[in-house]
C-alpha cells in the first residue's frame, strides 16, 4: 500500500547523512563545556558544526546561538528585542498578520503581560506584506518601535517576504525574521539581509527535531529567557546538544534540489487545475518557496478532506494551527482576504527532497474522488 507524504513543511525526513552523523555523535562521551579531553573533543566537533551552519547562512560563527527549537529562537528574539527597546521607552512590537504562532503568541503575551502595543502589518491578496503600511508606520511612530518581526517566507503559502526592503524601511529599528521555512530552500544571507536576528530550525531541512538556532548580531546583548550555565553567550543556557547540532550541520550541507522540487510543484498545480477546475492556488502570483502549494477547493471543508486523503494514504495538512484538534480558519488566508468558509476549504501540500513524480501522480489520482466526497459531505 503506498503511503504518500506531502507535508514536508511540517517536518521532513532526516537525511541519511544527518542520521548517521547524529548516531555517531550520540556514542561520543563528553559535555562540550567540560575542560577535559572528552569535553574538548565534543567542543571541537560542535564548533566545527557551528562554523558550517554560519558559513551557510552567511554569518559569523559567534552569531549562532543554538536553541531547542525555532519557537524558542523566536521567543528569545521577540521578547529580548522588545525588552531592550522598552528600556528606552519603545513600547511597540511590529509583526505581520501572517506570522507563525511562534511569533503571534509571544507578541500576544508581550501585550498581555508587558503592556506592549502590538501592531500587525497587513498583507495583500497575494500574501505579501503591505510595504506602504510599514513605511507609514515607521515614519509616524518609528521612535516608539522596539522590534519589527516579519517572516522570511510564509509556512502556509510559501510566499516570500521582501526582507531587504523591510530592513531599509526599518532604519535603526532592529528587525527579526523567522526564516525556518526558507533556510536552504531559497537564497538567504544573514549578512546581506541586514536583519538583527534570524531564526532557523533543523527538522525542516533534514536535521533532527529539537534543535534550532537564533542568529544574532555579534556582541548584541539581549535578556535571556533560560538562565543557568550561560552556555550560549549568556543568552541561552542548557547543556549543548552536540549530537543534534552535528546532525543539523550535516543536513545544512545536504543539497536541496530547488529546481526539481519546483518542477514537481508546478506539475502538481497544473494537475490540480485540470482535475478540479474551480480550485485555486493561494499566493500564486507571488515569489514562493519551491515546495509549498496552498490550494482552495471551494465547497469543501479541510478537515473532511484530510480524513479522506489520509484514508487514501496521503498525508497532507492545512498548515494552520489547531485549537484542541479543531482546525481554525487560517489567519494567513483570512489576512489575504479569504472568508471563513474559503479559508476552511484550503489545504497545504508541501514537497521535499524525498518527493517524487510518483508521489505527485498518486495524490492527483485520488484527488477527484476525495474532493467529490468532500463536497457531498459539506452539503
Amino acid at each position: 500500500m503506498p503511503s504518500i507524504y506531502v507535508d514536508h513543511a511540517a517536518t521532513t525526513p532526516m537525511s541519511p547523512a544527518a542520521l548517521s552523523a547524529m548516531s555517531d555523535q550520540l556514542q561520543q562521551l563528553g559535555n562540550p563545556s567540560s575542560l577535559h579531553t572528552h569535553g574538548r573533543a565534543t567542543r571541537k566537533t560542535l564548533e566545527d558544526a557551528r562554523e558550517v551552519i554560519a558559513k551557510t547562512i552567511d554569518c559569523l560563527a559567534s552569531e549562532v546561538i543554538f536553541t531547542a527549537s525555532g519557537t524558542e529562537a523566536n521567543n528569545i528574539a521577540l521578547k529580548g528585542l522588545f525588552w531592550n527597546g522598552k528600556k528606552n521607552g519603545k513600547n511597540i512590537v511590529v509583526i505581520s498578520s501572517i506570522e507563525h504562532h511562534a511569533i503571534l503568541d509571544p507578541a500576544q503575551w508581550l501585550h498581555t503581560h508587558e503592556g506592549a502595543e502590538v501592531i500587525e502589518v497587513p498583507v495583500t491578496s497575494d500574501g505579501v506584506i503591505d510595504l506602504d503600511f510599514l513605511r507609514r508606520l515607521v515614519s509616524d511612530r518609528g521612535s516608539e518601535i522596539s522590534v519589527i518581526s516579519i517572516m522570511h517566507s510564509n509556512n502556509e503559502t510559501g510566499v516570500l517576504q521582501p526582507i531587504q526592503e523591510i530592513v531599509a524601511i526599518a532604519g535603526d529599528i532592529p528587525v527579526h525574521t523567522d526564516a525556518v521555512q526558507s533556510f536552504t530552500k531559497t537564497p538567504l544571507s544573514y549578512k546581506k539581509s541586514g536583519v538583527t536576528a534570524l531564526t532557523l530550525s533543523a527538522h525542516k531541512i533534514g536535521g533532527p527535531l529539537g534543535i534550532g538556532a537564533l542568529i544574532l548580531r555579534r556582541a548584541f546583548e539581549i535578556p535571556a529567557l533560560l538562565h543557568g550555565g550561560g552556555q550560549e553567550r549568556e543568552i541561552r543556557s542548557g547543556t549543548l546538544n552536540a549530537p543534534s547540532i552535528v546532525a543539523f550541520a550535516t543536513a545544512v550541507s545536504d543539497s536541496y534540489d530547488a529546481q526539481k522540487i519546483s518542477q514537481l510543484r508546478d506539475g502538481f498545480i497544473s494537475g490540480v487545475k485540470r482535475l478540479i477546475p474551480d480550485a485555486y492556488i493561494n499566493g500564486e502570483k507571488s515569489d514562493r518557496l519551491p515546495g509549498i502549494v496552498n490550494v482552495t477547493f471551494p465547497g469543501t471543508q479541510s478537515d473532511t478532506l484530510l480524513l479522506l486523503l489520509d484514508s487514501a494514504h496521503v498525508s497532507a495538512s492545512t498548515g494552520s494551527a489547531c485549537s484542541a484538534g479543531v482546525h481554525e480558519a487560517s489567519h494567513v488566508l483570512l489576512s489575504m482576504g479569504h472568508t471563513d468558509e474559503t479559508a476552511q476549504s484550503s489545504l497545504r501540500f508541501s514537497f521535499g527532497s524525498t518527493s517524487t513524480q510518483a508521489d505527485v501522480d498518486f495524490v492527483l489520482s485520488v484527488l477527484p474522488d476525495v474532493i467529490g466526497k468532500g463536497r457531498a459531505a459539506n452539503k
Binding site: D303, T304, L306, L307, L308, D310, S311, S323, A324, G325, V326, H327, K373, G374, A376, A377, N378, K379
Partner: protein, 357 residues
C-alpha cells in the same frame, strides 16, 4: 463495513470502537468538538467537551490502532441542542438535551457526513441494542437495564437506526470496565459523565438564570391567589416541592407542589399533590423507530424519563398526536419531556409531550 466511531473520551465509546474493529469493520475514530471554545472547559472528567476528553479519545484510538480525527460540531451543537434547551425552558417546558443531541448531531450531522464520505454508519457507546427482523432493523433496550439508553435514542428514524451500531447493548457496564482494562485502555476507570455536558458547573438553574435572566414573578395557588415570589419561572420543575420559599401555609397543612409553569405571565402555579396526577398524555412530532403507530389502540409501556420506569399503558396515534393512557395515574409530568413507547424491550417510537390530563 466502513464505520465512524464517535469517541467521547469515555470508557464506553472506547470499548465500542474496539469491538467494532474486532468485528472486522474498517473503523475511524472521531471525537466531536461540541463546545465553541473547548479551552474554557478544563474541568476534567465531566461532560463530553473538554480538551482532556479529546486527548483521552485520541489515546484510546491509538491503543485500538485506528485513525483518529476531531470534527468541529460546535456550531451545530449550539444551534440544535443548546439553543433548543434554552428555548424550551423559556417556554416553560422541560427538554432532554441528550435526546436532542442524538437526534440532531450524532445520528444526523455526523451520520449524514459519514455517509457522504463513503462510510456505512456510526458506532457509539450507547447502551442499547438493535435487532434485524421481519420489520427491518429495530431499536431495543440494553440488557443492562440500569444503564439502558434507549430512551435518549428514541428520536431516531428507521433510516437513522439503519446507520447506527451499538456494540455495548449486550453487556453490563461493570463488564465493559473490565474489558477496557484488559484492552489496555487508560480510560477503564474514568468516571461516568453525568448531567448536562454544556453546563460545566452542574448548576443548571444558575446556568439558565445567567442566560434567561431572573425576572421575579408570582407563585400562585390554583385560584390565582399570589402566595409567594420566584426568581425565574423556568428554574422550577413540575412536581417540585422543595425550594419554593412559601411562608403561607395551606389550610390543612399539606405541602404544595409545582403544578404548572406559565412563561408568558412568568407565573408558577402550585397546588396539592393529587392535582399532579396524570392519566393521559399527548405528544407532538412523533418519530417511529419501527413500524408506524396507527389509530388502533395497542397495549404497551410508556417511559417519560431517561432512567424512569416503564409504565403500562395503551397508546394510539390520532394522525397528529401520539396519545398514551396510563393504567395507573402518574405524578409530576412536564410538557417538553419525551414520551417513549415500548413494546416489551423494543422502542416503538417517541413524541414530545405537549398536553396532559
Amino acid at each position: 463495513m466502513k464505520l465512524i466511531a464517535a469517541m467521547s473520551g469515555g470508557v464506553d465509546s472506547a470499548v465500542a470502537a474496539a469491538r467494532a474493529v474486532e468485528a472486522g469493520h474498517d473503523v475511524i475514530g472521531v471525537h466531536l468538538a461540541l463546545a465553541a471554545n473547548p479551552q474554557k472547559y478544563r474541568s476534567g472528567a465531566r461532560g463530553c467537551c473538554t480538551i482532556e476528553d479529546s486527548h483521552d479519545a485520541r489515546r484510546a484510538a491509538d491503543v485500538i490502532g485506528i485513525p483518529f480525527y476531531i470534527w468541529d460540531m460546535a456550531e451545530e451543537f449550539h444551534d440544535g441542542v443548546v439553543e433548543d434547551f434554552l428555548a424550551e425552558y423559556a417556554a416553560g417546558r422541560t427538554p432532554n438535551p441528550c435526546l436532542r443531541c442524538n437526534e440532531k448531531i450524532k445520528f444526523a450531522a455526523v451520520l449524514d457526513r459519514a455517509r457522504a464520505m463513503g462510510f456505512d454508519g456510526v458506532v457509539t457507546g450507547h447502551y442499547a441494542r438493535t435487532e434485524i427482523g421481519v420489520n427491518g432493523k429495530t431499536l431495543h433496550r440494553a440488557v443492562d437495564h440500569s444503564k439502558d439508553q434507549s430512551y435518549v435514542l428514541s428520536v431516531l428514524t428507521i433510516e437513522q437506526i439503519a446507520g447506527a451500531i451499538f456494540p455495548l447493548g449486550d453487556t453490563t457496564k461493570v463488564d465493559i470496565r473490565i474489558e477496557a482494562e484488559k484492552r489496555g485502555l487508560a480510560v477503564a476507570q474514568k468516571p461516568d459523565s453525568h448531567d448536562i455536558c454544556f453546563v460545566p458547573s452542574g448548576d443548571n438553574a444558575g446556568w439558565l438564570r445567567d442566560r434567561l435572566g431572573s425576572e421575579v414573578g408570582p407563585i400562585v395557588d390554583q385560584d390565582g391567589t399570589k402566595i409567594g415570589e420566584h426568581k425565574g419561572a423556568y428554574t422550577y420543575t413540575i412536581g417540585q416541592r422543595k425550594g419554593l420559599g412559601l411562608t403561607v401555609p395551606t389550610a390543612d397543612g399539606s405541602p404544595r407542589f409545582v403544578l404548572k409553569i406559565e412563561p408568558v405571565t412568568n407565573t408558577v402555579v402550585v397546588g396539592a399533590r393529587e392535582e399532579l396526577a396524570i392519566s393521559i398524555m399527548r405528544g407532538e412530532r412523533p418519530v417511529w423507530c419501527g413500524p408506524s403507530v396507527t389509530d388502533q389502540i395497542q397495549q404497551g409501556f410508556v417511559q417519560i424519563r431517561a432512567h424512569g420506569a416503564a409504565l403500562p399503558c395503551t397508546y394510539y396515534f390520532d394522525g397528529t398526536l401520539l396519545v398514551a393512557t396510563l393504567e395507573e395515574p402518574l405524578l409530576g409530568l412536564a410538557t417538553g419531556q419525551a414520551m417513549v413507547i415500548y413494546d416489551g424491550d423494543r422502542v416503538v417510537g417517541s413524541a414530545t409531550i405537549c398536553e396532559t390530563e
